[in-house]
Assembly symmetry: C2
Homo-oligomer: 425 residues x 2
């Protein structure tokens, strides 16, 4: 399969202008050519981009996709009421089939919003991987001690869990240690040992709330969560930490020293009143900053445009300095930085990269005057502006229509039914 | 003209469920009937809403619409560089015709985002009013001492400025005193006197930045901007104050005592690093809180969905309490509260109200499961979900097509040209 995208404004964050006018060729799953002059070749499909924007799909580095089924289940409530009275009781009722449908709803939402690659962290991975593979979607899927273990030893459990994920071009796995407040020290150390021996990267929720930091310092002789994990050897291998809201200078230095990547999730952090992450300070330490939506129960949509706007603007207001964290930097966080953190060869429109490509309709009022497009994307862009989404060379969404081998109305119906069942008193 | 909207989910913030399934009849410019059962009458037009959401258009209470032409002109820069090196030099080059086209671009953006009524504050009102009237758009337009006055007395100037606005069902006027740091005390007092004698409401930028508050307290014997204006008699008549970011308890009490309305502009406030307004504290004082986008140069799009999300979530994070400022409250701020502040009989779907109506496509992934629609609107909704916008009984936007008597491509072309000219060194 050989596809030509012609007459595109191609996003390129390496050059000053940020945009190249030209054409992009995709052969099978790979970007094979980028030219500024006309191409005289045969193609299976020619897409006239008509001067619209062509850019890499967004990489969303922190997701609990099946939580789509819990959308709006409890807003405007304190964390305890939200989690223990609403989220967890409903999650406990979710069957494997429920998780499969909820994952598919999330994939619809990702595709419509131009998200082409995620880091997944939930349970019932057999359902998640089935949905991802059926839809041809790209993900790094977390496995690990998120549920209570039986009397089987942890190594066997982890191996079994990892085997479910079946790696491929589109699917990778990561050891997802939920957090220091849900997983005990013995289990964390077993994960550290297992992943070190088996060459597996690690992910964890980290320093999301003041409570987490406070409890940790009380319990572990004044150590912050970052210091505590460093002492356990957690950062010795490739690691991605979600949230990282409450961090002091020493914490940031530790993350920088170990080349740890951060997934910042601003909409979740402000909606749950957790706080505002110190993104500018992280930049100054040279930390690889990526962006995540978190799950729908806490944010309440899967929308990297919303997150990009928030990363840039919350960083400014939190230190009373409008000049920090630029649109260009945020676009890189939402694409290439995320790809690097997850280990996929995507996140840029470059020859040789996997073809995760989205088209943005800039022939709309909020993209005029048509200059400074990087700024427009971050500060005025909306997920509804995406009109085509390609993952690994396959067009999965175009102008309101999904091509994922499943009628979206069937997914909607299933989701409504599941929600009704799990919220019945 | 008699129009039926059938099979709608009608937003109604007075009832617990927030939604009524039914039909809405519009006769000429007014909502004439709301029923839950089928209607057997003749109509000029029947619109099948197909179970989508029908709600009042958004009322945007703080705008500088023609700043659309300055979109993205200078981001990620300190306020002084933004204002004095970029915004003002370009504004100085704007002709009356430029302002006319830039106002029209803003109207396109408002309509596409479901905004049906604004409070306008800019200069060259003759161009603004011409564009508004041609498009059949609803606005309260500010006039006042925003530019340097000649040797004509201020009363004559104000009267002349007011006369330009020609009030109608769709257009009202307000005396817009820019701010205490741009208008001197003598001029403020003249406006206070003129508006008192002529029964005209007042608007002003107020306590937007820490600098404004600090400078005022130094200059005026420790008085905050609110205390200073109270002493000048500014709040004696119906008043709307924009921003109100830095306010202490006494300030809020003064606004409450005088029934002053507030227009909060969160995206502008965080992008320009001004701060986060104390919305929850305002609620506790019973202040009428409304929402504004501010101008595009500072925010950078005209999108009440973005603002609603921010009002709810910034209020939570700023006081570390996820339970404050609910979706329902925010929806009321964005509709009815704004209508009250501007004095238009809109902002609700009720019999007798003027027909400012929008339709929201909820047959999309981010509205599923289809429960808790108030939450979905505020926390997951996007301006791109609006597919029909009616102002005063006329459909001005539907499914990507504008009906404002002007080809949008002509507007886009003009805007690109103007931008090129005003930014030429």
């Amino acid at each position: 399969m050989k596809i030509l995208f012609k007459n595109a404004k191609i996003l390129n964050l390496d050059i000053k202008e940020g945009i190249i006018n030209g054409n992009v060729v995709v052969e099978n799953d790979t970007i094979s050519k980028i030219t500024t002059s006309a191409i005289n070749e045969d193609f299976d499909l020619v897409i006239d981009v008509k001067g619209n924007l062509l850019m890499p799909g967004f990489v969303d580095t922190h997701c609990h996709s099946p939580m789509t089924v819990l959308r709006g289940i409890c807003d405007d409530a304190p964390l305890d009421e939200w989690l223990y009275e609403n989220v967890i009781p409903c999650e406990n009722k979710l069957t494997s089939e429920d998780v499969y449908w909820a994952e598919k709803l999330a994939i619809l939402e990702y595709l419509k919003a131009g998200i082409t690659c995620i880091e997944e962290g939930y349970f019932k991975n057999e359902s998640i991987v089935k949905a991802l593979k059926e839809c041809n979607f790209r993900a790094r899927v977390g496995f690990g001690p998120t549920t209570k273990t039986s009397n089987v030893d942890n190594f066997t459990l982890l191996k079994n869990e990892k085997a479910i994920i079946e790696e491929s071009n589109l699917i990778k796995s990561v050891c997802f240690v939920h957090s220091i407040y849900t997983i005990n020290e013995k289990e964390i150390l077993e994960c550290v040992d297992y992943t070190a021996k088996n060459n597996i990267p690690r992910s964890i929720h980290l320093s999301e709330t003041l409570n987490e930091v406070g409890d940790c310092t009380v319990k572990h002789n004044g150590k912050t969560p970052v210091q505590y994990l460093e002492d356990l050897g957690f950062f010795d291998r490739q690691t991605l930490c979600y949230h990282c809201v409450h961090m002091d200078k020493d914490d940031l230095q530790i993350l920088a020293d170990y080349n740890v990547s951060v997934s910042t999730c601003p909409s979740s952090n402000i909606k749950l009143a957790s706080g505002i992450a110190p993104i500018y300070a992280m930049q100054n330490k040279g930390i690889n900053i990526t962006i995540g939506t978190d799950g729908v129960a806490s944010n309440n949509s899967l929308d990297m445009f919303k997150e990009m706007f928030l990363v840039a603007t919350l960083s400014k207001v939190s230190i009373y300095d409008a000049s920090v964290v630029s649109a260009r930097e945020v676009l890189k966080m939402a694409t290439l930085n995320g790809a690097k953190a997850l280990g996929f060869d995507v996140g840029e429109i470059k020859v040789g990269k996997k073809a995760d490509i989205i088209l943005i309709n800039i022939n709309q009022p909020h993209y005029y005057p048509q200059v400074n497009l990087l700024s427009h994307l971050v500060y005025a862009g909306k997920s509804g502006d995406v009109y085509l989404t390609m993952v690994n060379g396959k067009i999965l969404y175009e102008n309101g229509k999904f091509h994922i081998g499943e009628d979206e109305n069937k997914i909607y119906e299933q989701i409504n039914k599941i929600r009704e069942r799990i919220t019945k008193k």
